[in-house]
């Protein structure tokens, strides 16, 4: 999947990956890769700016966490983020259904 194709969907992917548990950046990238069956092998340098942007928007919150002597910034969904995820998920379903219909017709 190219970077261009991912544009506009990255926020939804990040929010959806964080919906159940908090993760640090590296684990989030791994989880995205694993959860998508290897389809979303994202350029790693794009993830952190997106996480920071989403945090500034209030849909994510973060804190430093220590694990085996290493400090990592872990991110989790806020209440506003959970609501945003619901809205984006609905919009995505409508969009993908529409694309499916057009593509099948063609």
């Amino acid at each position: 999947v190219s970077r261009e194709e991912l544009k506009g969907h990255l926020d939804l992917l990040l929010l959806a990956t964080l919906r159940e548990r908090e993760l640090h950046g590296y684990a989030l990238i791994e989880e995205l890769k694993r959860g998508s069956g290897g389809t979303f092998d994202l350029p790693e340098g794009t993830i952190y700016p997106a996480l920071h942007r989403l945090e500034r928007g209030g849909v994510l919150s973060s804190r430093w966490s220590s694990a085996s002597g290493r400090r990592r910034r872990v991110y989790k969904l806020t209440r506003k983020g959970a609501a945003a995820l619901d809205v984006r998920r609905l919009a995505w379903r409508q969009f993908s259904r529409g694309v499916d219909l057009v593509v099948q017709e063609a």
Partner: protein, 137 residues
């Protein structure tokens, strides 16, 4: 390129405040070290992350014209208030307490109306950032 070298270059490229910069560098440092351990090599980890200039550009925040304008407006209002208060004090030492209070109230009413206008403008431009870009281009 080592991780230290990459971080030094990224530090140069980031156009952010010191706190944000420090946090980003720590996160990237942690990420690269973990990736280097997993993927067996710093070079590969660095290559996967992207060039410092590209990464820094993604972290760049849009310029905040509106809050700056609001801040400038507040400073201007405070300055004008101080000037008005001085002029009243110097020019009309014989005004009664009631008269001074009325003048100040009327003036504050004007300032409040101005503040409401600023808030409405801020909300409008937040909802329509494309218009703000057009005006500030």
């Amino acid at each position: 390129v080592t991780i230290e070298g990459y971080l030094a270059e990224l530090r140069q490229c980031l156009r952010l405040g010191p706190l944000a910069k420090r946090r980003i560098l720590r996160e990237v440092d942690e990420h690269l070290r973990q990736a280097a351990r997993r993927d067996e090599g710093e070079e590969r980890a660095i290559a996967s992350f992207g060039s410092p200039a590209e990464v820094a550009a993604r972290f760049a925040r849009p310029r905040r014209y509106v809050p700056r304008a609001a801040g400038a407006s507040l400073v201007a209002v405070l300055a004008v208030t101080a000037i008005v208060a001085s002029v009243i004090g110097i020019r009309s030492p014989d005004l009664t307490q009631t008269q001074v209070t009325r003048i100040v109230r009327a003036y504050c009413g004007g300032v409040n109306a101005k503040a409401i206008c600023v808030r409405v403008n801020l909300r409008y431009f937040r909802e329509h950032p494309e218009l703000l870009n057009r005006y500030t281009r």
